[in-house]
Symmetry: C2
Subunit: 158 residues, 2 copies
Amino acid sequence: MAERGEVRPGEVVIELPAAFDGGVYFIGRIRTPFKTRDDCPKSTARSNAVGQVELDARYAAGLKDLQHYSHAVLLYWMDQARRDLIEQVPAHLGHSRGTFALRSPVRPNPIALAVVEVASIVGTTLTVRNVDCVDGTPLIDIKPYFASTDSFPDAKRP
Amino acid sequence: MAERGEVRPGEVVIELPAAFDGGVYFIGRIRTPFKTRDDCPKSTARSNAVGQVELDARYAAGLKDLQHYSHAVLLYWMDQARRDLIEQVPAHLGHSRGTFALRSPVRPNPIALAVVEVASIVGTTLTVRNVDCVDGTPLIDIKPYFASTDSFPDAKRP
């Protein structure tokens, strides 16, 4: 996908709305071994990396009981990604696909979702497995993972 | 969970930051049979309801190729929920739990996540199964569901 101004042949740029409709707080940071976008694995499935989720002290009480879940969903803010590409040409694909059929960080709302295994929680630091984002990525939410609503092992893809 | 001003005994309120760090666009609306919060099922696992995701025309090209996936992740904005409760007392639990150990709409960034089965896509309308939100809820993202990274059938919960 294109980032930081680059648009590939076949990609489609749209005009975004003039104003935002809602605001997000950055509630922490995700520490990973990946210092740049180019260092990152293609997805959490291709990452065995261990990272730390550092939650701001203000939100510490929000972690109560999270240790009883084996997995969590992280939502984070891809602040290095442009937001105005609605069709993208991933290098591995060679032709365009709609932004909503991709997990690219480039999207109108640059929110990424990763399911991680929670190895430990000490104070406001979660140690997690399977991280794939750039070191320092802003965190916007942590949710417990529920197999009952979140796991569809037979889901089909092309 | 408490909403619209109500705080239950045992719940903990925090002071939120003075300013937002990022902005979101509402990119469409989710149409469901549930006219109020009280009508909604507790989760997508308890809903067989069919709903429509109505994407704004501006983003239409972003749906290209999504029809090849059986399931999608919807992110939506729980605009009726307060954002400053960090411990909550769900009625079914009877004691407090941290916000990040709950899927409650009440959280610093009121973003909900639902995995839905995509029944059809016609124009900019997706018909989906397993919706659980209030009719008219603002949509902020659609992502293809990948069993390889998103499905953990053995994930543990209390």
